[in-house]
Amino acid sequence: MHGFIQYIQSYLDSDKTPGGAGNIFWATVYILLVFAGLSVAVIAMNWLERKILAHMQVRLGPMRVGPHGLLQPIADAIKLLLKEDIIPAEADALVFWVAPFIVVLAAFTVFVVVPFGPTHAITDMNIGILFMLGVSSLSVLGIVTAGWASNSHYPLIGALRSSAQMVSYEVAMGLAVVSVILMTSLSSEGGTLSMIGIVQAQQAQGEWFIFKFFPLGLVGFFIFAIAMVAETNRAPFDLPEAESELTAGFHTEYSGFRWSLFFLAEYSAMIAVSSIAVTLWLGGWLRPFPNALTGPTWDLVFSLFPGITFLFLAAICFYNTARMPKHPLFRVQTMGLAGFGVVLALIGLILFIHGVRVRVQDIYWFTAKVGAFMYLYIWYRGTFPRYRFDQLMKVGWKVLLPTGLVLLILTALVGMRTELWAELQGVWRP
């Protein structure tokens, strides 16, 4: 027993990820935490997406289940789990059964290497970014097989569109990623593919890669930001599930639990690609201005942000509690909202404790940046009309791919300019 406690404690003093330290206990804890966090994030995204879209369209959105519809995702989840699970008579039952699991596995496995902080990742792989791109590209297999196994026209066309789209945009995405990897090789430690290494390279070079070699980093970021929306089949690139043409695309024939797996996978894939973008271009877990605003005072100010955010959310809850209708029918809801506010405020206060504050702030900044991307996803959906298929292919192959190629070559040239110059002088003056 004593040995076990020591085994648990031994990790706390190390400065490695649980995978890097080879500590199975903490690795399991981290995996469970990431899984739980993702599930909560997906539930929250479900509610936020409906609410934000509704407010963009001057509607109220879900209002009935719980105060301001806060319990709507839970009601939906219960409804989905209770629904009949239908397998079409002519479907290929085995493939139909396996397909959602492929998508979910691919979407969740990538989080093994996502760096929430210098030590807050399940493990750090030497090929981190390659692993993320590779495993997330496996989800297209699930979509294709789901569409085919349904043995129906709409899903098949949806799956074909989806596979063509994802394979095309992967190319541009890869080129943008390679340009970032070239940038990491300018650090003194040399280039790296590891997710933690990429953020540390940004720290060492003193700037986020989005600002590196202005405007090259920015262009690479834009290519990735467009390609990642297409990769996750979200509006305006949601042709595989274009309602007006294909009912629900590749998951038309799915119902109940299996459909909710696709839903879960879609949102966790969105979070996954957003965290790639954050890690590669936006400095991962680094707080804003780590070089300009230094010193203990600024450190203190920035480490207070997580607690303040939760207190702010709690304040919104209390404000809305006060605004709830005074009718006796709403008494339970008012009490529930007040209770939720109290919970948020308590979390906020806990986050002010020094020991917690120091450990949590990396995770907070990472999550905040990913959250900004999640808002962008909703914003796109509320703003842009859907592309036509030929337009989609044109953007992918004729705009993003050539831009990515030029960007890659320019990044290499600018990065190696001193060496190239020396080489040229050597040619002229041997």
Partner: protein
């Protein structure tokens, strides 16, 4: 570096998965099932590369084969009529040659494994393992390093061959571009 965990277990698991997948690829009548078995085989192969401390090769294997090429396979298979192919009689008139070739290849592997040159086995127990962290850099050095890089030309020629094949396919498939 951490010591490897349960290496024989994972090796036999991955090897069994690969063999099972390979058998399913050639025995399934339904082409989509075959393709999925092939994907399993390729993923297990990526796992074997990981066990050889070659994470870069494993990653590229997943991206290119499992994520890229197999998607195109499925893409093509989905467009042909599976029902007709399902009803056609499957035949194999080359099983004798096949068995001889497979036996020959297996014998060759065993021969290489057991051969001793100057009293040393080609595959001694506990071959030096390279650190996982150096693999990507080592491949880059083999390809591009000025002094040690020896495979640059072969690599570029292979990619040129692929380019020619792509252009050839487009020209043959589409007469008017």
């Amino acid at each position: 570096m951490n010591p490897p965990v349960a290496t024989p277990f994972f090796f036999y698991l991955l090897a069994a998965t690969m063999i099972l997948g390979g058998i399913l690829v050639i025995t399934r009548k339904n082409a989509v099932h075959s393709a999925m078995a092939l994907i399993t085989t390729l993923l297990a192969q990526a796992g074997l590369y990981l066990m050889l401390y070659a994470p870069f090769v494993a990653g590229v294997q997943i991206i290119l084969y499992a994520g890229g090429i197999m998607v195109l396979f499925l893409f093509v298979i989905m467009l042909i009529s599976i029902e007709r192919a399902d009803k056609e009689r499957q035949f194999n008139k080359q099983w004798l040659v096949g068995i001889v070739a497979a036996g020959g290849l297996g014998g060759l592997f065993i021969a290489v494994y057991t051969t001793t040159t100057k009293g040393k086995i080609l595959f001694p127990e506990g071959l030096t393992t390279y650190g996982e962290t150096q693999n990507t850099q080592a491949i880059a050095a083999l390809l591009f390093d000025r002094s040690a890089g020896q495979y640059m030309f072969a690599f570029e020629i292979a990619s040129l061959l692929l380019l020619v094949a792509i252009i050839g396919a487009v020209v043959m498939a589409k007469k008017r571009i």
